[in-house]
Point group: D2
Chain length 233, copies 4
C-alpha cells in the first residue's frame, strides 16, 4: 500500500484562518491575508475546532495518490461523497497478472495463506482463459477478487478529511481503510499541523465513543489518563 | 436482478411544478399548491426541462430496492454522489453459498460459462475454508469475486436521476448498470411520466452524443428520422 | 411566518429502518420491507442514532413550504447545502407594496418600531419611484431591505434535517431561522416521531454545548436534572 | 468590486490530466505524475472536455476573495452548493457607514441615482438610530438594503467552476454576479488556460442556448461565424 500527498492548497492554515476571520471582521480581504501570522492562524484554528465551526476548513483541499489497495477498500472509500475520485478502470485496463492485497490475518495463518495464494493463482488463470475465449475484459473481470489491487487519485477538503479520520481511524474500522486513513493523516499533519492536531477517531478527537458494546476500550484508557479528546499530539 | 420502487415523494409532478411556479409568482404557497392541475404541471415541467432549469426537480425523491446485482455494479453505482445508499455488508453478513451474477457474454459462450461456474464454486469453497481456518469474514471476503451478489437501497432525487439516466442508459455504459438504470427508468416513468418522458442517454434526451469514435451510432439514426432529443415516448 | 410540510416520503420510519436492516442481513429487500413493524422500526432507529450511524436517515425526505420570512433568514437558510430550494425571485416578481418581517426586539420598542415602519414605507416609495423612472426590477430591488418577505420551497432528507436542527434550534442561532427550525421540527415529529425524538440543539440531542462563553446555560440546567442528551420528548 | 485568486491547487492541469490518465492506465501513480508534460496534459484535458468526462476536473480547486459586492449578489452566489463559502456576518459586524453597490442602470439615470443615494443615506441613519435605541445589530440589520456591501472567501473545484461560468457568464444572468463570474474566469484562465479555454456561457462552451425567446441572440452570431462552442480563446 502506498499513499502520497500529490498536491494541496498552499498555506492551508493561513487560508482557513483568514476565511474564518473574515466572518467577524470589517477589515478587507487583502488586509486579512497580509497580516496573518502562523501563530495567529493556529490560535484561530483551535478556536474554530472547539466551537465546531468547521466550514472554513473547507477552503483547504488535499489530493492523494493511493495505490496497492484492494477493491474491497476502494468500494468503502468512494462511499465518502464529499470528495473527488479518479480510479483505475477494470473495464479498460487488462488485469492479467493482477497484484492482490493479502490481509494480515491470512498472512499470519499458514493454511489460510496457502489456500488464498492458490485461489488467487486460479482466478488469474480463469481470467486469462475467459479473455482468450473472447470474453470482453469488462465481463471477464466478474471473476476477479475483492483482493485485486487498484489505484486512485482522491481529493478531500480538510473538513471532509476530519470526518473521514473520525470514522476510519477508529480501531473498529476495517483494517485496510484504517491503514490508508492513518497514512493520509500522517501526510496532512506535516503540512497542516494545527488543522489536524486533534484529528483521529472520536475518542481522540472528541473524547466520545459511539461503538457501545463493540468499543475497543481505548476511550476508557484515555479517560483514566485524562487524555480523551486531546488529540494524539 | 430485481429493481423495485419502494417509496417516492407523493404527487412528484405537482410538487416540482409548484416549486417552480413559486419562483416567478407573487401568489402564496398554499394557493399555488391548491390550484395546480396535472395538465398545468406537465406544461411547466416541459418548460423547465427545455430551459435547463432543473433545480425544482430536486424536490421529488425516489427510493429503490436493488438486488441480485454484482459488486462490480454496486461499485460503479455508489460513485454517483448526489444520492443515498444502504448496502449489504460483506464484513458482517456471511457469504457461504453466495449467489453470483453471470454476464450474458459468458452465459452465451459454453467454454467460458463452464470456466466461470467452476471458478465460482472454487471461490465459494475457499471462502468457507478460510472462515473454518479462523479467518474473520471481513478478511475471508477478499477472495470473493466482483460477480458476488449484493443488494442496496438507493434514494435519488429526480434531477440526480435524470443525470444518472443520461450516463447509464447509454449503450456505451457497462451492461449491468445499464440494465439497472433502464429498470429504474421504467419504474419512475409510471409515477412521474412528464418528468421522465425525455429521460435517457444524451442522444435521446438532448440530441447529442459525446462518445466520439466510440459512439454506437444511434444518434445518426435518430437524426435521420428527426427523433434526436425527443425522448423515447 | 408560515411553515407547512407539503410532502414527505411515505412511511419514513419503516423506510429508514428497512434500509438499515439491509446492511446487516441476508434477507432480501421485499422480505425486509414486508416484515417490519413500527415497534421494530423504532427500536432500530434509536440504535442507529445512538451509534451515530446516520446514513439510513437519508432515505426519508421532507418538503416544506416556508413563507412570511425575511431575506435575512433565507440567506442563512440556503447556506445549508445538503438540501434543495426554490425561492421567489426578486428579479422577476415586482415588490411594490412588499410585506416585511418585524423583529420582536423592534416590535417591543416603541421608538424603534416607529423608525422601522417609517423606513419601510420610505423604501417602498423609493422602489416604486425607481421602477417608474425606468429602472429594471432586478436593479430597483437593490434598495429593498433584508426585512423584505420571501417564500421558499425547501426539501431536506432526515439526516440533513437533524444537522439543521442541531445548529438552528440552538438559542444562540438567529431568532428568525430558529423559529422556522422549531416549526419544521414540530411538523416532522408528527410524521416521524422516533427519527426526530431527540432532534434539537446539541445540548438536547447530544448532551454537549459548543458555545463556550457564549453558552445560554441550558446545558448546565439539563445536566443538573439529568436530562442532557435525552431529547425533548 | 474586487475579485482575487487567493490560492489554488498547484499544477492544476497536470494534476487533472494525471488523474484522468490513471483511469485508463496500468502505470503507477508516481510514474504518471513524473512523466506528464504540459503539452500532453493539454491534449488530455481537451479530450476530457469533448467527451464530457468532467470528474477529473474536480481535483483542482481555486479559492477566491470577493469584496465590494452586494448581498443581492451573495444570496445568488451561495445557491451554488458544490462550493465552500465564508462570508462577513451582519449579525456580528457593525454596519454603521456601510458601503453599497450602485447598479449601472441607476448610476446612468440622474433621477434614479439621486433617489437611490438619498435612500441609502436614510437607511444608514435609521440603522444607527436603531442601534442607539438598544436594538441588537442582528435585528437592526433588517433595515439594511440588498445593495449593502459584503465580502466572501469562496472555494470551487474546476468542474463546479465550469458549471458556474456556464450559468453566470450568460448575458441573461444578473449583471453583478455576471461581472464577478467574468473576473473569476479571467483569473483562473491565467493559471489553468486549457481547463478554462472553452469556459463561459453555453453558447460559447457548448454551442447551445437554452434561453429560448429570452435569448440575447449571441448564439446566432456565433453560428453565422462558425464560432459557437469554440470557446472565447
Amino acid at each position: 500500500m502506498q499513499v502520497e500527498l500529490l498536491e494541496y492548497t498552499p498555506n492551508p492554515e493561513t487560508t482557513v484562518a483568514m476565511a474564518a476571520r473574515l466572518c467577524y471582521s470589517s477589515s478587507d480581504i487583502s488586509q486579512l491575508a497580509a497580516g496573518m501570522s502562523q501563530e495567529e492562524a493556529s490560535r484561530l484554528i483551535r478556536m474554530l475546532y472547539r466551537m465546531g465551526h468547521l466550514s472554513p476548513f473547507e477552503h483547504a483541499s488535499f489530493t492523494f495518490g493511493i495505490s496497492g489497495v484492494s477493491r474491497a477498500m476502494s468500494h468503502q472509500l468512494v462511499r465518502h461523497r464529499i470528495a473527488s475520485y479518479s480510479q483505475k478502470s477494470q473495464r479498460y485496463v487488462a488485469e492479467r497478472g493482477f497484484q492482490y492485497v493479502l490481509p494480515p490475518s491470512i498472512r499470519n495463518n499458514e493454511e489460510a495463506r496457502r489456500l488464498f495464494a492458490a485461489e488467487m493463482a486460479a482466478i488469474e488463470q480463469t481470467y486469462s482463459r475467459l479473455v482468450e475465449a473472447g470474453i470482453p475484459r469488462e465481463d471477464a473481470r466478474y471473476v476477479l477478487p475483492n483482493a485485486c489491487e487498484t489505484q486512485l487519485v482522491a481529493t478531500f477538503n480538510a473538513r471532509s478529511l476530519l470526518n473521514f479520520f473520525r470514522l476510519r481511524c477508529c480501531t473498529r474500522a476495517q483494517w485496510e481503510i484504517r491503514a490508508v486513513a492513518n497514512k493520509m493523516l500522517l501526510l496532512v499533519r506535516k503540512v497542516a499541523p494545527t488543522i489536524f492536531e486533534k484529528a483521529g477517531p472520536s475518542c481522540i478527537s472528541e473524547g466520545v465513543c459511539h461503538e457501545g458494546k463493540m468499543s475497543c476500550g481505548r476511550i476508557e484508557r484515555l479517560r483514566r489518563t485524562g487524555r480523551a479528546g486531546l488529540g494524539s499530539l
